[in-house]
Symmetry: C3
């Protein structure tokens, strides 16, 4: 049975004013969009005002100012994001207990498990899958059929991996996303990362890649995605079907990449943007905003030159605004 | 004995028209340049027309258009690159069978194997070499003398490592190169990576590096090369003697780097270029073309500024072509 | 008892002229600043002239030219940096012997050690700490209380880790820094990395990170630091309290980063610079010099554009110096 807390217990822990039923049972923590009956959410970013208005969360953590506009049950605190960080660990420890009480892993008959592999409770390895030596698989992990995991890969609890997947050595699937809230003294409160990683079928992931679990909700790698080495997929990212990325591509938190995209090496995408289907991006581009039209995009490094020439031009870059303004003052240019 | 296939079996699998002896035995798959008697090759990139004309491959996979210019035996298909991807797996499974039937690894008397190490069939660890805990070594791996492999390194099948080599923790040697061909439905067919990695003597490789095996032929790290952490060496790359690279350097597929080069941190080199001997490259440069003259080269990031000034100048970068054109219209500049 | 060498033994190995007591005992190797009685140091970089004048090292390795200015005991060689590299291994092998003779590791009663973990002599795992499966821990490692090390992490000898620390999977702590001196024949002599890594309390380190040990002296990660995935911290770096860095940040050797800094993704800092407290740096900036004033700093990639427009502007970058000079020749711009 799932553990729950009363609204009053939560209010007390957070030092929050409470509005609503003190005896209400809270079973989980979720985003404003996805939270339902019995779940808690939080509101701290004004961009999500619409989501606040439409949320089905039983309780929302918010600030005094925002509480006046909100009709539902809520916890009123000074710093809602920090309060969310603090309470997040309650729902993580619940999961930990559940995993510790599970049954032995289930290895299908034709699966092959190499030496030194460790597999946690309740995990499943499907038919004809092969797990390389010294792989570590957490609890409640589901691995499909004909999937191959190479040596020294680490898979955290609750990760789901499809059929015909290949994961190369020393990659990490399901590590914590990089989330924290700042305390008043300047130190950081970790936000428990409660989501999972969901990897579809026919995916290939290179060596030394990291795919972080969702903070709330999932990180999703859809069918047919191919990732080269040293790739970083942050929490809550979605990668569309058949998209391929060359080495060192990094996608920051909550960004959504479309289907059939082709990214050159070392492309980085900042957080919370969307890249539509069929976008090509050249090597080393930094994607700083959403892309809504298929095509080829670039930014980034200037052309290769001898170092002396490059230095001269690079210094001029620092004067570029001045140069442009000066030029604009010249009259009579036809 | 090595496994082989008849030309007819291959034609049938690929749905190819065949020109030449249907009963010919095909033992291997190789590049146009390196293929010999009994080997299959493919032609899809017009840049390699000369190699096609001179190939000694028994059969070549090519398109209808290209077949009219070619006098030798061939398989004629719509998409030669995709056909190569598909047939590549036949020559991979052959290797798999061979490795599974090998004998126990051979550990020389003075080698030291730590706890948790797994070593595959037919592998050799040389005198005075030390293998750290939880290292995974595949089958048919050759490791020389006085070599030190630190914990949690993964070495795939068939890799060759010389004497006095140091490989730091969690690096991966011999993982699959990033190669695939697009199917008509937009999904990707993996190309089996049939080559190996060959590491010379006195090489040091940092932590969390990845060195991919060749697609066909080898990836080669020559004597005395020193690599820092987080380095990526793609399939079929060659790194010349005594070249050093700081952290995050990435060399894309089939590029050849000369001897005695010094690369600063985060230098990336695109695929299929050549960098001659004695080249210095400053930190974070993207090498987009071959370099044939020793010297120092740069590209890349603009100088450090306060963010506000930088933003103003960066916006002007987007107007740079217009600025230059405007300036060119001004008459009478002496 | 600590091993020592006579000045005469060292001079002979280095082929050095010796000035001072030939029978003096040398116990260790250290920087000019930190060396004391019985320790050896070296001088090769003119920037450290003041440190040479004030050193308390019993002996200093230096060149003929520099020896005339120096009154203390010294070894006089042609290439002091190379001589330092060569002799450094003597003080490393001493450490190796010491570690090999240690006692069994000490696991506090409430610590949890998962399957496949290997722990070296003299190491300690504190109360309530949890070590994930297949983690490799060297000798003389100290791990505090309530610390969590995830699967497949590698921790080298002598590393010190505080309380409430989290280290995610496949990270490497204490690998050798990237240091070497060039020999006359162009090959490289490795410099033994004799320092350690010291990680404070409440630190979180992401997956696939590398934190190198000091060459002489320590690499230090202070309390409350939070590092995302794929981070590289080179030898002798210091990261100040509560500083956070997003994925792929790399800090080169001996740089010092202040407290409360916030670095976006893929920020790289070159070696031997200082960044003061409370500095924000935007994604993908290359920090090429010290920063002494709090604030936000940037460099790097130009704005995102369609590839065609970007190419046109990027070519103009190579003409920027010429453009600026041309503009400066125009008279009468008000």
């Amino acid at each position: 049975m799932q553990e729950s807390y009363t609204a009053e217990e939560i209010a007390e822990f957070l030092g929050a004013d409470i509005r609503g039923d003190k005896d209400a049972q809270i079973y989980g923590l979720n985003t404003l969009n996805n939270a339902g009956e019995g779940e808690l959410s939080f509101f701290s970013n004004p961009l999500y005002k619409k989501e606040l208005d439409g949320t089905k969360a039983s309780f929302v953590i918010l600030s005094v100012e925002d509480s006046s506009d909100y009709a539902g049950s809520c916890f009123i605190v000074e710093n809602p994001y920090l309060a969310y960080a603090k309470i997040s660990h309650w729902f993580c420890s619940d999961k930990t207990k559940r995993l510790a009480n599970g049954g032995p892993p289930k290895i299908e008959e034709n699966a092959f498990i190499s030496s030194g592999v460790v597999i946690g409770n309740d995990s499943i390895v499907g038919d004809f899958s092969k797990i390389g030596s010294n792989v570590s698989i957490g609890s409640n992990v589901k691995i499909g059929k004909h999937t191959r995991i190479f040596p020294n890969v680490s898979i955290y609890d609750d990760v789901v991996i499809g059929d015909n997947v290949i994961i190369h050595s020393n990659s990490v699937i399901g590590s914590d996303g990089f989330g924290m809230a700042r305390r008043e003294d300047g130190s950081w409160e970790k936000i428990a990362q409660l989501g999972i990683v969901n990897i579809g079928n026919d995916v290939e992931i290179g060596a030394c890649c990291t795919i972080d679990r969702g903070a709330l909700g999932n990180t999703t790698i859809n069918n047919g995605v191919k990732l080269d080495n040293h790739i970083q997929i942050a929490h809550n990212v979605v990668i569309g079907e058949n998209t391929v990325m060359a080495a060192y591509c990094g996608i920051a938190g909550s960004s959504v990449i479309g289907k059939n995209c082709v990214f050159g090496g070392d492309v980085c995408v900042v957080g919370h943007v969307e890249v539509c289907d069929s976008v090509m991006i050249t090597a080393r581009t930094l994607v700083t905003k959403s892309i809504s039209k298929p095509g080829s995009y670039s930014s980034g490094t200037t052309p290769l030159m001898d170092t002396k020439s490059w230095r001269k031009n690079a210094v001029r870059f620092t004067q570029l605004d001045t140069i442009a303004k000066k030029l604009n003052k010249i009259k009579n240019i036809d």
